[in-house]
Amino acid sequence: MIILTVDKTKDWMKEIQQRMADNKDQLTALDQAIGDGDHGINMARGFHEVVAKINHATYDSVADVLKSAAMTLMAKVGGASGPLYGTAFLKMSLAMQGKEVDQDVFKQSINDAAEGLQDRGKADFGEKTMYDVWKQVSNFLEEEDVEDWHGILEVCQATIEDTREMTATKGRASYLKERSRGHVDPGSMSSFYIFEALDEVLDLEA
């Protein structure tokens, strides 16, 4: 069964943009606690640019939409979330190249995105980064039937909660060492909005 089409992928990006705009202040507050405080602005700006780019363009494939989104994020986001989210969407795009996106292709694309993030950020699991969320979602998709998209959200939420008690060893938060504990990782939170937006889109009747 085809789960993502060009139109649905465009809608996914719009849903992400909406969530980043709505939660800009929350992401900023999280990032002010343990980072440099620009995550909310960067994510809102980045996805605003993505939607502006893809809205009026025509695409032949889901892969092309995601590639366009990736390139825009890399170009327009000044902080670490640019290359990281850019890498994630680019890896998804590469996994979908020349294919219709069914469950298996989608699972593979999330797996590749998680690997790409690990590679780009040099992060391992449990280092209080967005990679934790992507890796857990990837694991969940490996084990479960993807009919149950809502399960992804529970996985994300549990993982975000796990990051709260971790000590950051990567990224700007790592300078705070154990003082980073007690705070949720901002990148995990913005990753949650990406999967929440996906859930929203996949629930719509095709």
Partner: protein, 128 residues
Amino acid sequence: MTQKVGIIIVSHSFQIGEGVKVLIDQVIEDVPISLACGTEDNDIGTSIEKIQGAIEQVASDSGAIIFYDLGSAKMNAEMAIELLESSSIRIAEEIPVVEGSYIAAVESNLGKSLEEIMSSLEKIKINM
């Protein structure tokens, strides 16, 4: 005569980049140095496109070295290199920008190779 090894400074701050270049320009005149500092609007941050442009400014067969200030600058530098598919560009990992670029400029001016400069830089690694 072979080209001298180029130097690219990638900093989150436009002013840091300008300052480092002024400092090096005082002692070294003819080493190719380019800057990719700040975002497109010169706000705090880094830009892959700016880095690509800076690489193209100083790239030659002799190669070039990228110095960066903080983690996400390094990520953007890696992506810029991947997108350009250039094999002669190296990233000075965990090397302080001021000291590193200064040493590299002096050595490049003496006609040292990319590998020779990279191994000199090893001595000033910082453990973050």
